[in-house]
Structures are given as C-alpha cells and as structure tokens.
C-alpha cells in the first residue's frame, strides 16, 4: 500500500526530560520519526519540553514547540495547529500516556486528529493490566497467576491461585516500598496487611513468583497488511526479578532451542495482533522457566522503547524510522533495507556477532540508597558492545563503562559473597568473577544468582584466559595466549594490570606482534548481502572490512554512557559537529558506545564505529582511518580525559589544544594564568591529607568547597563549615593522592552564579549566552535552574563577565567552544571554573538564541571558516525569557534525602519559554513535572539569615490568597510584621506535625531553607514527604522567589505556545533582549 495522502500534517510528541527509565533513546526514535515523515513530504509538528534533544532542532520538524508535556499545553498546541494525525508511539511512556489522555479528554475528536501507529483501544489493552490479562486469556497465552487485592479477604483467595512463594507489591508506593515475597501463610498475611496499609489506595498486586526464571524480550513490527516480523530477540543475563533496564542483556537469545524460540515468536505475533497494535514496533517480554520451559507473558509495550533502540543498534534495522513509515500506510515490503539497499525491510535481521548491553549506575551519588536491584529501574545509562563472541562483547562493554579502577575485588568474606551473589546489586558482576576466580563452582553461583550456567561458563573461560597471562612478563607470554586475551575482549589496560606493565608498553608489544583488530560490519543479514553502510565494530579475526576512504575526514569522539553530569547534551553537540562537517564536505566518523543516542544512528555520520571510548580503542581507529582531525571537546569528560594521551600519541586533535584544556584543569597553571590576567577567583588550595587540608582551610577561611580533582558532575563535592567536618570528609569521602589532590576553594556564600557559553577563535569571540542560576552558589550548576537573559544583575557585572570571557578565551587560545562559571559576591565577579569545551548548556543556549553553537564551533575547529566570517554579533541575544530547569531521580531512591547541593543529582532538563521570567519559569516547572499551586497553604520554615526575605515572600503569598503556616520561630517573625500565620509542630515537637499535614494533602507549597545539623532529620522528613506527594518544595530563598514569580505569572498571564521557527525567524528576534520584568531585583 502506498503512503496515505488523506493526511498531511502530523504531530509527534517527544518524551520530555531525561529521567531514569526514559532517556535519549526517545530522542533517537523521535528524530528518526521526524526525519522519515518529513522525507515523505508530511508537515511535522513536534512538541517536547527537552531542549537538549536533536529532535527539537528547528530543522528536524516543520514546527517545533518546546513546551511542557501536559494535557493543557499540548491541547493548546493541537488547537492551534489542527494536525491531521498524532503519532503517539515514538516518545516513550510519556507521549503514549499523554496521547491517550488527549483522546480521553476529547481533544483529538474535537480537532479531528487521528491516532496513527497505535489506536486508543490497543494502547488501553496493552497498558491496563486487567484488560491485557483478559486479552491473553482469550488468546490462550499464560500470564503470571495472581491479581489485585483490596482487602485481606481478597488476598486469601488470590494466594490459592498463586501458591507460595507469592510476590506482594503495594500500589503507588515510593520505590515499591512495603512489598515483599511470602514463603508461607504467616509471612503472607503480614506482608499483605502491611502492603495494604502502605498503599495510598489500599491495594496490593499479588503474583506467583517467577523469580529466577529466564527473561527474554522480542521486538516485533507489524504493518497495515498484517505482515509481522521479529527484529531481534534479547536475553537477560540476570533472571526475572531485575528490571530489564538494570540487567545486562544480550542479543540474540543465547540459550533457547529453535523450538522454544519459535514458541516465543508465535506468541509475540499472536499478542501484537490480539492487542491490535496496527503498525509499528512493540516490545514483548517473556519469562521462561529454566527447569521445564514453561512460559509466562510479562508485558508488552505498544510503542518503541529502550529495548527497540537497543535492537535497532544491535541489528542495523531502524525500528523507529520504519515504524513511522508504517504508520502512514507503507507496508514492510515497500520499504527498502538501508544497509543492503537491494532487499526489503520485510525480513528478520540475522546477526553474525553478539551484542551485550550493560547498565551504568550512579549509586555513589545517592549515599543513603541501598545498592539493591529489583523491579524499579535504577540505572542512569547504558553501554552496548559488539563482538564476535559473547565474551568479547561483554568485556568490550565492561571497558566502555569507564570504570576508574580495574574491577577486581579482594578478600570478600564468604557470607558477603553469598549475599552479593544472591541479591542483585550493581556490583554483582564483580562478585561473580571473584567467585569464579576463587573456585566457587558454576552450579553454586547458578543456585545463588539464577544466572544461566552458560553465561557463567563464558565468564569462567575469560578467567582462565586471564590466568594464563597473569603474573608472567609480557615477553614470555606466547603470542597465541595474548591473541586469545584480545579475542575474549581483555583490554590492553587489563593486560597491563595482569602483567604489571603500562598500557603503552602492552600496546607497543601487541603491535610489534601484529596483534591488531580488524573491523567488521553490522549488516542486518549475516553477510548474505553486500552492505553499503559502514557501521563497524572491532574484533580480533582475519578479514578486515573497514575499507577506509581517502576523503578528508574528521573523527568525533562521543560521550559514552549517560550518567548524571554527562548526558544527552553532549551527544547533541557531537551530532551537530557531524552534521556540520558532513555538510562542509568532510567524511565524518563517529565513535561511541551508547546505544540510546542519535550519534550511534548509522545515519548520523558517514562512518560509525560502535566502540568503547578508551585510549586503546580510539587509537586503533585512528591508526586505521588516519583522520585529518579529531574532536574531543564535544563529548564531555570522557573524550576530554583521553585528549592528552591521544595528543602524545600523535593523534591530530583539532580545536582548542589539549595543552589549553589541561591548563584550565590544572590548579596551579590556571591560578597563575588568572593572576597574570588580573581575573579574581575564590581563594583556594590543594591537599593530599587531612592535616594539610585543615591547614589550607584555615588559611582560606571557612566555609570551603571541597572536591576531588578530575571529576564529573560535582562527584563527592561538599561544602564544609568547620574543621571537624573537613577532617571527616578527608578521611571518609575521598581518596586523595599527589596526582589527584583534593581541591579546596573558599565557598562564596549566597553568591549569584552564572554560566557563560561562548564561541571563540583567533578572529573573534562571540558571547552566546550569560545564564543566571536561579539557585544561589553551592548548588551544582547542573542542578540549578537558569535563565537567559540574566534578570537580576547589574549591567556592569554582565560587562565584566563578557570582558573576562574574552580575555580568557584569548589567553587559552580557544578555538571552538568555551564555558565559564562565574560567581558574583559583594559586587565582585569571580571566575569559578573555565572549561574550554562544549558544556551542558550548549543545546539550551542554541535553542534560545537560534544560533547552532556546536555546528559553528565544529566548522571553526576544522578550519572551514574563521568565526568572524559567520557575521555573528559579539553578544547573542534572545527574543524571550528562556528557563532551563533540572529534573531529579530522587523518587527512585527510597531513603535518599532529596536536597540540592554541590554534588549533581539531576538526570535531565526542560526548557520553559515565556514573555516574562515568571511565565518561563512556570512553564519550566510544569515541564519538569511540578504543578504550581494557585492557592492553598504555604508552609515556611527558614533559617535566621533568610527571615528578612521570607517576610517579603510571605507577604506576596498572602496577597495571592495563600494561607500561611510556619514553624515557631519563622511564625513569630511573620507575625511581627502583621501577617496572619498558623504555627505548626516540627516533626519532633508533637503531632500532628508538618509531615502529617503534607501527607494529608493540606500543604500546597513548602519553603524550607536548611537550619543546620540539628534540624537535618526534620527537614529531610519534610522533603521526602513533599517528594512523595509531589508538593513543590524549595530549599533556597532565590528558588523560592522565582517560584513565587512563577505563581504570579501563572495567575496573571494566558500563555500562547509559539514555535522555535516563529521565535527565530521573526524580525523581532536577535535584536534586543527583553528588559527584565521580574517582580524583584535581587542584589547579591
């Protein structure tokens, strides 16, 4: 069937900010869908609140809205745009839920919008557990036995069906708290009764236990002609019980006979037809009993997913792109396979390699969180690796994780080992290898972990290969044994560790022996047909298919797995570099190992190397490709950390020199430079021991900001107010060494902070954006909302920041992007940090100014055009107020205090656009998932130094009609100025206390600045309760002021959605920044 001509305008909804469980895979899928539909001649309207995405680039859609993904906001866009159709399946659960809400609210019918891809009924069946179970029953497919109970009596009935052990999960509790596994009737009654009490709706889900069963996923596609194909099968290394996002997964399935696999395939086809997903991709999860082959259907996602992104990268079959084409009426046989060109998409990819995906966790950032994995996903990112064997893929994947130290445990007590093997956790892999090395039999590890013996045997093979080289000198290891080590994926660094040599020595030795990798192609077809797409991975085998060209080429190093502090923003920059240089006639070569990203779409660059971002792997590609230039400044800390070594090895790094990058990172050199330039920075020092730190801090004066060197996202960064805490920090929080001393800075209390992004080369410096942080100094820049243009700062200080930016860019000989963090305290501008590279805020500033900073930077770096020839003004301006706000994963980590501080915790960001600061901030808050109250009770409890400002705020809130509630001291102060306020108990003062009020839903807004150690427990309880009940809770006065501005703006202004294209094409833009109309002026 040809494409539909009865529709012409299609709305695509994105997935919003990056959160745990919904990351840049939906930028990848959304971008593919936008591109595919535009290519087919449709007018594409896109809405997404996340500015760091490629999909929200103005070129990707015809009309792009960066607006909150709420029913009201998207309904307004639909009423304005009147699209013919809505594609709900490429923006994750967010887009799917929102689309169904729009259908349920009648908005789609009202505006004549048709859901394409998946109809409302199909989505409901797939998403509603009861309906899905009913559908599966009708189709004769088994699901886990069990059901929902709202009383003990119901629970008694259900257990008849499930038997023991039974799994009990209370509905709607944070992180699934209050559930458990019951092995006998007594336990069952206890857990069920507790669960019913813990659930806010007094409901528990009770199911038969399938813990320890093998878990599989199939990616299915269907077209309007009812053709169905399976794109990929995925087997989970970890058995049932661990969220698939937290499990190592392998493609294709490894331990199923054809008979068993075909059963899952048949069921998948039955399910997609039964649920009624008309076109596109679905993901279906199965559990298989390893003892008898019994199967249970776990769930189906009627949309593209994290797994489908993985399946696309694993097979070379672009699921989202094809899904978009199927949604407009094409059938699979009408769409060509990009890679083979000569064969159609109506086939099932077969692969002749193995793919391993490994999750990346950030538990170290959530100190109170228990490192246990379960059904709630906790990982923040993932890597994928391709090898010709499972061993090779797995070990390539492990090194892609960028672990700081070689993973090897020592002296693990037997009981700890047993516990860590039995209870899934982020370190389990290391415990398994430890167990194997210490002679624990595979059967025993299997008994404890439920991990299939085949996988364990694979690991054991690698341990044996290691044993053959460990403790020997490099020279006495037979070349065959070294080759074997490389074949199973052991890195040079690992070999160096095992032979007590340096990585460079191993590399040199290996190359002398001629042990170098070859590159094979991902081609969807197991080499049956010729591949026209250079999508490559390395392996140690005979034949090399790399076939480098002799074109002018630039290599771009990506940013590896997402993690807190290094996420989609850097992938955005890498993609832009690739697009720009491709357009400029270069061959672009992308190196990355993150399967979620747009950068690892084989369509993004001319050549894609799906490889770990280590020195070894990158140099191997450099040796093969001999690029004219390498860009290391766009992928965040990962490639930057390689810069010096690549440079030393003769790799041609372009843009700002590695020496300048090092200068900016090196305390001493940088301090000297600032002195020379006369640019102030906070007093600082370094220390490698606690006494030294105490001495330095005394010299500098408390409070001090302390942190380890060379870290990302403020890892282990802390503000320390006294000697005792500093001593504790030095002894417990960090490992300091002469190479990596602890950095100590004077902490500028209550300073205002700014992020400045600029473009520079020897011909010009363009200040792209001076972003003012909403939160005051002390909150990590990635965790603070920020606004463009700055709203509460005197022009003289802006001028000073511009001046410092220019002289620093010149002094560092910046060629490309530079980001500087400033603080202003007591009318003095300090430089906090200079990063001569792409920053987290580049996409935000690009979207706000309409100037593609990363593109221009790439062209400047490659010497295509000097900066001055772009004819940009010295200072870019914006046509509206743009607010960037972070989103946090606290809700996934029970027990963790959701307070902001110098260590970054946010996973993603949204942008709000408005005519006023308040409007933009309100939209950003809404986009971040926080509904601002228009009225109700505002609870205020602040420390003494904040009480003056609290009075101002309380007045404004009272005027808006809020009822005031405060703790005793704050209340007294508010009463002094004549405000009416109710006094409430602190947590330890009696009941009902403030937390009780929050839990009762009586509090609309919380302003609570830290009072110090004594009240820490109180405050933490308030914050946790606020988080659970989604009550806005601000912990800084500047944040509170911004929030009140937003509430006022929300009450007073009617917002009208506007597209990026309108913003940047209108004559009004790029002329003059709007005047600050914030309701207050805050002078630090």
């Amino acid at each position: 069937m040809p494409k539909r001509t009865d529709i012409s305008k299609i709305l695509i909804i994105g997935s919003g900010p990056i959160v745990i469980g919904q990351a840049c895979e939906f930028d990848y899928s959304g971008t593919q869908a936008c591109k595919a539909l535009k290519q087919e001649g449709y007018e594409v309207v896109l809405v997404n609140s996340n500015p760091a995405t490629i999909m929200t680039d103005p070129e990707m859609a015809d009309r792009t809205y960066i607006e909150p993904l709420t029913l009201e906001s998207v309904a307004a866009i639909i009423r304005r745009e009147k699209p013919d159709a809505l594609l709900p399946t490429v923006g994750g659960q967010t887009a799917l839920n929102l689309s169904i809400a729009l259908a349920d609210a009648g908005v789609l019918d009202e505006c004549g919008v048709e859901l394409i891809g998946a109809k409302r009924e199909a989505v409901k069946i797939a998403e509603d557990r009861q309906l899905f179970k009913q559908a599966m029953d009708e189709a004769g497919l088994p699901m886990p036995r069990g059901g929902f109970a709202r009383s003990w009596a119901e629970a008694e009935q259900i257990v008849e069906e499930t038997d023991y052990p039974a799994i009990i999960r209370p509905s709607f509790t944070l992180g699934g708290t209050g559930g458990g596994i019951a092995f006998n009737p007594e336990e069952y009654e206890e857990i069920v009764r507790n669960g019913l009490a813990a659930s806010p709706i007094h409901e528990v889900l009770i199911e038969e236990s399938i813990l320890g069963w093998k878990e599989f996923e199939l990616e299915v596609m269907r077209d309007l002609h009812d053709n169905v194909v399976i794109i990929c099968s995925i087997e989970n290394f970890d058995p049932m019980g661990v969220h698939t996002g937290d499990s190592i997964t392998v493609a294709p399935a490894q331990t199923l006979t054809d008979v068993e696999y075909q059963k899952l395939r048949d069921m998948s086809i039955t399910i997609i037809r039964k649920v009624g997903v008309e076109t596109g991709g679905s993901n279906i999860q199965f559990a298989v009993n390893p003892r008898n082959g019994d199967i249970r259907v776990i769930e189906m996602n009627p949309r593209v997913s994290r797994s489908s992104a993985l399946a696309s990268k694993a097979t070379g079959f672009p699921i989202a792109k094809i899904a978009a084409k199927l949604a407009v009426g094409y059938t699979l046989d009408e769409i060509p396979n990009d890679i083979t060109q000569k064969t159609p998409a109506s086939f099932e990819p077969t692969i002749d390699y193995v793919v391993a995906k490994i999750p990346k966790w950030n538990f170290e950032k959530f100190r109170d969180a228990e490192d246990v994995l379960g059904t709630q996903m906790k990982s923040v990112g993932e890597v994928m690796a391709i090898g010709r064997t499972f061993k090779e893929a797995l070990f390539k994947g492990l090194r892609s994780l960028e672990a700081v130290k070689p993973l090897r445990l020592a002296n693990v007590p037997a009981d700890e080992l047993q516990r860590k093997l039995a209870r899934p956790n982020s370190q389990r892999f290391s415990y398994i290898t430890y167990a194997l090395q210490h002679g624990v039999p595979i059967e025993e590890i299997y008994r404890l972990s439920g991990i299939d013996p085949w996988f364990l045997a694979q690991l054991q093979d690698v341990m044996h290969v290691q044993d053959r080289i460990e403790g020997r000198t490099l020279e006495e290891i037979e070349p065959a044994a070294l080759l074997e080590a490389k074949e199973v994926g052991l890195s040079d660094r690992r070999v160096a560790y095992l032979t007590k040599r340096t990585e460079d020595e191993v590399r040199a030795h290996r190359k002398r022996l001629g042990l170098v990798p070859v590159y094979k192609r991902v081609d969807t077809c197991g080499a049956e047909f010729e591949s026209y797409t250079p999508y490559l991975y390395s392996t140690y085998e005979e034949e090399d298919e790399v076939a480098p060209t002799d074109r002018r080429k630039i290599m771009i190093l990506g940013s590896g797995p997402n993690r807190i502090g290094q996420g989609i923003e850097f992938d955005y920059c890498c993609c832009h570099a690739s697009f720009a240089l491709r357009d400029a006639g270069f061959e672009t070569i992308m190196v990355n190992c993150n399967p979620e990203t747009v950068s690892t779409d084989y369509d993004t660059s001319d050549r894609l190397y799906f490889e770990p971002l280590t020195f070894e792997d990158v140099m191997n590609i450099v040796d093969t490709e001999r690029p004219e230039g390498i860009i290391v400044q766009f992928g965040g800390q990962t490639p930057l950390n390689l810069a010096m070594r690549l440079d030393d090895a003769g790799a041609p790094i372009i843009g700002t020199s590695p020496d300048s990058i090092d200068l900016a990172e090196d305390r001493k050199r940088f301090g000297a430079l600032l002195n020379e330039l006369g640019v102030p920075q906070p007093e600082n020092g370094t220390a490698t021991s606690s006494p030294e730190a105490i001495r330095e801090a005394a010299r500098i004066g408390y409070p001090v900001l302390v942190r380890p060197s060379y870290v990302l996202g403020g890892r282990a960064m802390a503000i320390v107010y006294d000697e005792k805490s500093l001593d504790e920090y030095m002894r417990t929080a960090v490992e300091a060494s002469p190479e990596r001393p602890v950095l100590i800075d004077k902490f500028l209390e209550r300073a205002a902070e700014f992020d400045v992004d600029a473009l520079a080369d020897e011909t010009a410096t363009v200040i792209a954006g001076i972003q003012e942080h909403i939160e005051e100094a002390g909150i990590h820049s990635g965790d603070s909302s920020c606004v463009l243009p700055a709203v509460r700062i005197a022009e003289e200080h802006i001028e000073t920041m511009r001046h410092y930016t220019r002289i620093l860019a010149r002094a560092l000989k910046v060629k490309g992007l530079i980001n500087i963090q400033f603080a202003i305290k007591d009318d003095r501008v300090y430089v906090l940090e200079v990063n001569p590279r792409a920053s987290r805020t580049v996409p935000f500033v690009s979207k706000a100014t309409g100037v593609p900073l990363a593109r221009i930077a790439a062209l400047v770096m490659a010497g295509v055009r000097p900066l001055k020839d772009f004819n940009l003004p010295d200072d870019l301006t914006v046509a509206r107020f743009f607010v960037k706000s972070p989103v946090f994963p606290f809700v996934k980590f029970p027990g963790v205090d959701p307070i902001l501080g110098p260590e970054m915790h946010s996973t993603g960001e949204v942008m709000g656009v408005g005519e006023s600061f308040g409007e933009a901030y309100a939209k950003a808050m809404l986009g971040a998932g926080l509904r601002l109250p228009a009225s109700g009770t505002a609870f205020i409890s602040v420390n003494d130094s904040d009480k003056g400002q609290a009075v101002v705020l309380a007045r404004r809130l009272a005027r808006l009609g809020f009822t005031l509630m405060a703790t005793v001291n704050t209340a007294a102060r508010l009463r002094e100025v004549g405000l009416e306020v109710e006094t409430v108990f602190k947590v330890n003062e009696g009941r009902p206390n403030i937390v009780d009020h929050i839990k009762q839903g009586e509090i609309a807004l919380i302003i609570n600045t830290p009072l110090g150690r004594a009240s820490h427990y109180d405050e933490q309880a308030i914050r946790r309760a606020a988080l659970q009940h989604n009550v806005p809770c601000v912990t800084t006065m500047t944040g509170a002021q911004a929030l009140v501005d937003a509430i006022i703006a929300q009450a007073e202004t009617q917002t009208h959605p506007v597209t990026l294209q309108e913003l940047h094409d209108s004559p009004k833009s790029k002329v003059q920044s709007p005047k600050s109309n914030a309701a207050f002026v805050f002078r630090p």
Binding site: N227, D258, Q262, T343, S346, T350, W454, F529, E542, E543
Partner: protein, 370 residues
C-alpha cells in the same frame, strides 16, 4: 576446550581457513554452504537436504543449548562437516541430552571452530558455493585444496538415493485418520511428517525410486514430494514418474527439492543459485494477496520462472532476489513451495500450506463423491 587440536578448511579456489578441530577427527569433502539461522543448528545438522555439504553457521556461537532427541529432523546428522566461529563447551538447557561436541563425535562428523566464519561467508557470497575439504588429519593447504578440487561437484549430483528410505514405512495419523498421503522420500524432514500426522493424515513414506504406478496403487488421497539434497537435473527418471503422478489428478504437494522436481516435470528448467538460500529469515511474497511470510529456506537450486509453461502459475516469489518460491498448476490440484513450511528450524509463518494441501484433498474427495 583447553586441549585444542588444529584443523584446516580448504576451498577449491585456494582459500584456506585454519582453526581448531572439534567434533570427530577426520577429513571430509563437500559443497561449502552457509546457513543464517541463529537457532536450530541441530535441525540443520539432521536435515537430509544437507547431505554432501559442509555447512557454516553465520551465527558465531553454536552448541549453547546442546542436542536433544526431540529436535532431530531425521535419524542422523547428514552434513559432511560443520564450521562455526565458537563451539560451546557446555550445553545449557533443560532439554539438552548431550553436548554438540559429543554428538558430532558420536556420528563421526568433523567440525572446525575458531575460524573467521564471516570472511568465509563473504567469500562464498561473492564467488558462489564451492567445493571444500575439511580436515584435522591433513593440515597441508595445497594437499587439501587438491582434495577439494578432486571432490564431486554438486551440479548433476544425485543424492536422493543416499538419503531415502530403503523400504516403505507408515506414520500413523494423530487422532482420527482423515487422509492417506504418500510421501516420496528424497530426504524428508520429520517435521513434515509430524505436520501431516497432526492434521489427521496417515503417511506412507516410499523410497525415491518408487514408480508412479506403485504409488497410485496405494490409492493415496494426496502425494507429497519431499525436500532433499542434490541437483534436481540429475533426477530424470524420478521426474518422469512425478509427471505421471501429478497428471493423475491426485492432489500433489511439493516442498523444496520436490518443488524443483515438479517444475521439471511440468517442463520447466532448474538452475543453480550462486550461493543459495539457507536460513530462517527469507521474505516470501504471496502474489495473489500481497502478504509477506518470513520463511525457512534451504535450497541451492531454483526453478527458472520463464521456463514454466502457461498452465503453471508462479504464486510466490522471494523479495530478496525475486526467485520462484511457489507455484501451482492452473488445472491440476498440484502446488509446491521452494521453502520449508514445516520450518524446523525457522518461523512457522508458512505452516498453512499443509492445511492448504488438506483442503485440496478434501475438495478432491468431495469431487469424487459428488
């Protein structure tokens, strides 16, 4: 596999691959082909259509789930030799009865692993299927290349007599018997028989050399022409018998080799594909309705579309290379498919062809009654 012994694979054009010996020690020659199925190595090994061939699996990890009696497609493995990237030392499956290595040793099938199978596949893809010799005894490249060159080519090779049953045997219907089908055994896979039996057919399996007269004397409701190895062009006598069978008006259904023989019986020609179709992911278009089924394939020869007479309709084509995948006679109750509706290994999308044959037999019976 700590103790590894070397093995050598030599192709007739002089290309060689060194690897590790597994399975049985020994030396074999055959046509070098590859299969792209990611599961189902046991079904591949026991498919009689692979007689005379050395099979390379494109999926690199083979043997993971071991071997079991239930998944065998015939009484024994038929491949001459087996080439994989990495053989699993352990079998992990509740269904496993032995490791693949032990199984191959038991059946004296030499195998090689630790070779760049992708390079081998690309070589065959570009230059065509060719003769090869696999040895763990003779590790001299020149000598083994010479042996490959001296071995029998697949063209004009008759192999049905090697794999066919010695004497007729019966497979009872599962449940009530509705039809009696005579199966010409050119190397039949057990799953075809299972499919028929499950649909209520009693099957009489007869040797490939059985005459049409003898077959028709069994008064079958339908005749099934099985899959099998070798070049259909080498089967002149059988083709004559098939022509008589088909023209008898008895519903006739051919699969793979049986399809090729039918094509020749109707006056068409067959030709050798460059490297064949072997795998479980081939898209076949049913022309009349426009739907695509994902199918299991194993054929090195095909029926030439333009050689068929007007009364034969090409019903199915392969979307990858447009080759004939199915045909039917416009007047006679005869149809055939080039691929494997019985799957094993592979997807079940095409299973309906067995029901189609049942319907044909039903109609035919009613016509007789009416």
């Amino acid at each position: 596999m700590s103790e590894t012994k070397p093995a050598l694979l030599a192709l007739e054009d002089g290309r060689t691959f060194r690897g590790r010996a597994w399975g049985a020690a020994g030396e074999v020659c055959g046509e070098m082909v590859f299969n792209t199925s990611m599961t189902g190595y046991q079904e591949v090994l026991t498919d009689p259509s692979y007689a005379g061939q050395i099979v390379c699996m494109t999926y690199p990890l083979i043997g993971n789930y071991g071997v079991n009696a239930a998944d065998a497609e015939s009484a024994r493995p038929w491949v001459e030799g087996f080439v994989v990237r990495e053989a699993s030392r352990m079998a992990s499956s509740w269904r496993a009865e032995e490791t693949l290595d032990a199984y191959l040793k038991r059946w004296h099938i030499p195998a090689i692993d630790h070779v760049d199978t992708r390079a081998l596949v690309r070589h065959i893809r570009d230059l065509g299927a060719m003769r090869a010799c696999l040895s763990s005894i003779d590790l001299d490249a020149d000598s083994l290349i010479a042996k490959a060159r001296a071995s029998a080519p697949m063209e004009n090779r008759e192999l049905a007599s090697v794999v066919t049953t010695d004497k007729p045997y019966e497979v009872p219907a599962v449940g009530a018997e509705r039809f009696h089908v005579v199966c010409y055994d050119f190397g039949v896979k057990l799953n075809s028989l299972r499919e028929f039996a499950a649909l209520g057919c009693r099957i009489t399996v007869v040797p490939a050399s059985t005459t049409a007269t003898a077959v028709l004397a069994l008064k079958p409701d339908g005749i099934f022409l099985s899959n099998g190895p070798g070049d259909p062009a080498a089967m002149t006598e059988v083709v004559t018998e098939i022509k008589r069978v088909a023209q008898s008006g008895t519903p006739t259904f051919g699969i793979c080799f049986g399809h090729q023989l039918l094509g020749r019986a109707f006056g068409g020609t067959t030709y050798k594909l460059r490297f064949g179709h072997r795998g479980g992911n081939q898209p076949v278009l049913e022309r009349a309705v426009g739907t695509v089924e994902i199918t299991s394939h194993n054929h090195g020869f095909a029926v030439a579309a333009d050689s068929l007479p007007a009364e034969v309709e090409v019903t199915h084509i392969n979307l990858n290379d447009n080759c004939v995948e199915g045909m039917r006679h416009r007047q006679l109750p005869v149809f055939s498919v080039q691929y494997h509706p019985e799957a094993a290994p592979g997807p079940h999308d095409a299973e309906h062809h067995f029901r189609r044959f049942i319907e044909l037999m039903e109609q035919s019976k009613q016509a007789v009654v009416g």
